[in-house]
């Protein structure tokens, strides 16, 4: 009986496995063909839509595709995380659902969708419901200013080509702290409250060095516009030499490492995952969440991981500029490479204590980033 069931399952799973692979190929292909695609879309749209609405339609179509890719990102990031964890720990990870467990995250997502939606009796219902929405909104909204590439004719591939994009990024990511605090307070659970309070203190503290380190880049390039920052890094040896990380050695290298550390802290990843410290606070701020609300926090976390990785790639690693020309695919590879580094760290390092975490921020990271800001501006001024 069981074997029979297993056979049916296998037969069903075989073709289903193709779905994620095809999706992957489609997504990768879309990314690679983005510059062409954008041109095609605007031409197509130009034939049918009146001139006044053209821009709107392009933006709507682009945003829809963009949000679709962002929603798929956590699904594959979670699969990737589980695979990275498994191979770090000398095991296989998900292997059953689909080829090498590629459909596992879909299965988990379906499971979470069908879970009962629980709200604790004494919870603050408004805050409790609002918190996951805000978490995911802040994570997705910040992607609006992340450009993926630039077309030959100079059009930037971004939802919004904001000229103060970096500033917008700093502002929007702060909302994430608010969501965590709301979840912690609204759950009416002591562990959640601890998690929320820790998260608020941590994120607010680490926003300061993040902003300063972004300023280090802005001061060197002289622009708050992210495509300008990337443009300043193009050229050089093998298309790599002018990446900011290699300039003013070792100042920018230190800045990159610190920025990455701050990114880890802002996304609450190990070794800075004290807001959800599993062994201390059960699950931290999302202790009381279940089902899709819980999944939203997860989506937000993986969205934020990709966000800080992409931003680090844009600011320090030359964005879409690579040794083989410039392409959105290169940019995505850099972004996901840094995501893998985050996962690798998570499964290797223990967790800091809350006072040590604050100590790292206020005693080391902030003074060093101020020094970097002063040093780079002085050197730039002298040159």
């Amino acid at each position: 009986m069981i074997t029979r069931f297993r056979q049916i399952e296998m037969r069903l799973m075989g073709p289903l496995t193709l779905i994620p692979i095809v999706l992957c190929l489609v997504v990768l292909g879309t990314i690679a063909a983005l510059p062409m695609l954008a041109a095609v879309i605007s031409e197509l749209v130009g034939d049918f839509v009146p001139a006044g609405l053209q821009h709107l339609v392009v933006v709507v179509l682009g945003t829809a595709g963009f949000v679709g890719i962002l929603a798929l990102n956590p699904i594959y990031s979670i699969w990737l995380e589980r695979k990275v964890a498994a191979h770090v720990q000398d095991r296989l990870g998900p292997m059953r659902v689909g080829w090498h467990g590629l459909l596992q995250s879909f299965a988990d997502g379906v499971k979470l969708l069908f879970k009962e939606d629980l709200i604790p009796r004494d919870a603050d219902r408004v805050l409790f419901r609002l918190a996951p929405m805000l978490a995911i909104a802040s994570a997705f909204a910040a992607f609006a200013v992340v450009p993926w590439g630039v077309r030959e004719d100079g059009v930037v591939l971004a939802v919004s080509n904001l000229n103060i994009g970096v500033l917008y990024f700093i502002a929007i990511t702060s909302l994430g702290a608010l969501a965590v605090l709301m979840a912690g307070w609204g759950s009416n659970n002591k562990y959640a409250l601890y998690g929320g309070m820790r998260a608020a203190a941590q994120m607010v503290s680490y926003e300061i060095p993040t902003a300063i380190l972004i300023l280090v880049v802005v001061a060197q390039v002289g622009s708050l516009h992210i495509p300008d920052i990337v443009a300043a890094q193009s050229g050089g040896l093998l298309g790599v030499g002018d990446w900011l990380i290699f300039q003013l050695f070792p100042l920018n290298l230190i800045a990159f490492v610190l920025f990455f550390i701050c990114g880890l802290a802002e996304t609450n990843r190990t070794p800075f995952d004290i807001p959800e410290a599993e062994s201390e606070l059960v699950a931290g701020f999302h202790t009381e969440y279940s089902g899709m609300r819980f999944a939203f926090f997860f989506l937000a976390e993986y969205g934020n991981m990709l966000l800080v990785s992409m931003l680090a790639a844009l600011l320090f690693l030359g964005g879409w500029v690579g040794p083989f020309g410039s392409n959105p695919l290169i940019f995505f590879l850099k972004g996901f490479g840094l995501v893998v580094v985050q996962m690798w760290l998570r499964w290797t390092l223990p967790r800091l204590r809350v006072d040590q975490l604050m100590g790292v921020c206020w005693k080391y990271v902030i003074p060093i980033s101020f020094f970097l800001l002063i040093a780079t501006t002085v050197i730039k001024g002298l040159m």
Partner: protein
Amino acid sequence: MDKPGSTGFDGAPAVTLYDEELPPDNSYAFSPEDLEEDEMILNMGPQHPSTHGVLRVELKTDGEIVKDSRPHIGYLHRNFEKHAENIDYQGVIPFTDRMDYVGSMGNSLAYALTVEKLLGIGVGERVAGIRVITAELQRIASHLLAMGTYGMDIGAFTPFLLCFQQRERVLDLFEWLCGARLLYNYNWVGGVSHDLPEGWTDKCRRFLDEFVPVLDEVDKLLSHNKIFIRRTADIGIITPEMAKDYALSGPNLRGSGIDWDLRRDDPYLGYENYDFNVIVADSPHGPVGSCWDRYFVRVREMYESVKIVRQALDRLPAEGDVQENVPRFVRPLAGEAYCRSEAPRGELAFYIVAENKKPIPYRVKGRSPCFVAMGLFHEITRGEMIADIIAIIGSLDIVLGEIDR
């Protein structure tokens, strides 16, 4: 209450265990009325990922600082000692297995030694060798669990799985030996339940050879990690005086820098003939008696256990009936016996009072190292932070099955 005939031992009035008319005594727990401003009672456990079972700790906290703590035990109380008064001597052994359920070989060994002392019988050389091998393998398995879960308490997940892979291999060896993976019923009074199967010693040797490099790797990954040291090396300090005053034993005692190991200082099973070092903490990273010291004593003890198992395998007599001294009836003369042994978690002892020629013991009392260690919990947690409480519980390496019995 005073029903006719309800008198206790020697005509003393019966002890009332539960009386509905008496108001419940809540003086041990914290009361919300006694809190000062900004203080909060945080209830950690009995369902909590890192209280190592069903320990419940009440914390009086001020923000992240723990002002005071109260451990509540008894959630796993299974009445082992009372059961033992109603069952024959051999039948108690499965109950002892369930005390420290991750170090069962050590429990049944301690009980078997006590009954053998009561009966005045000894065991053959082969049985002693097998008992040493199983006890030391159990120590390795138990310390691996302690090491892995301690890493997880501090937030490092990977060492846990690496440790468990190796622990699994020890359990496989035990399963091959006696059919059980956790609760073995292996050490019988006067012998062991099964002789070593053919090829077992070779597999055991292979495990030891392959285990040491993995232990080196996990040690490198976790023990000397900067974050790990900063989290553990200056918290939960048990000074040597405190350790003596509270009668700690085992790795917890040696972690406070006191050189005491029953295998060397009060040897049983011929431990005096084995060449091994007693590991005492030398505290390179902070004050003596910290969580890191206790943890690292366990890590280094595993290497010593490997040494002992290797020697025992070399010396094991090739032939011998492992059940030749097993008595058909256990009916000791009136008397009492107390025998202690070095279990993975410390000094585990049994005290047995026997009635004359009766097949069931009059009283069996277990002296549990974890229960004793919980006695100073409130002392070492005072003034630490919430995250440190977890680190301290993990470093004491308690098993609630043994505390509650």
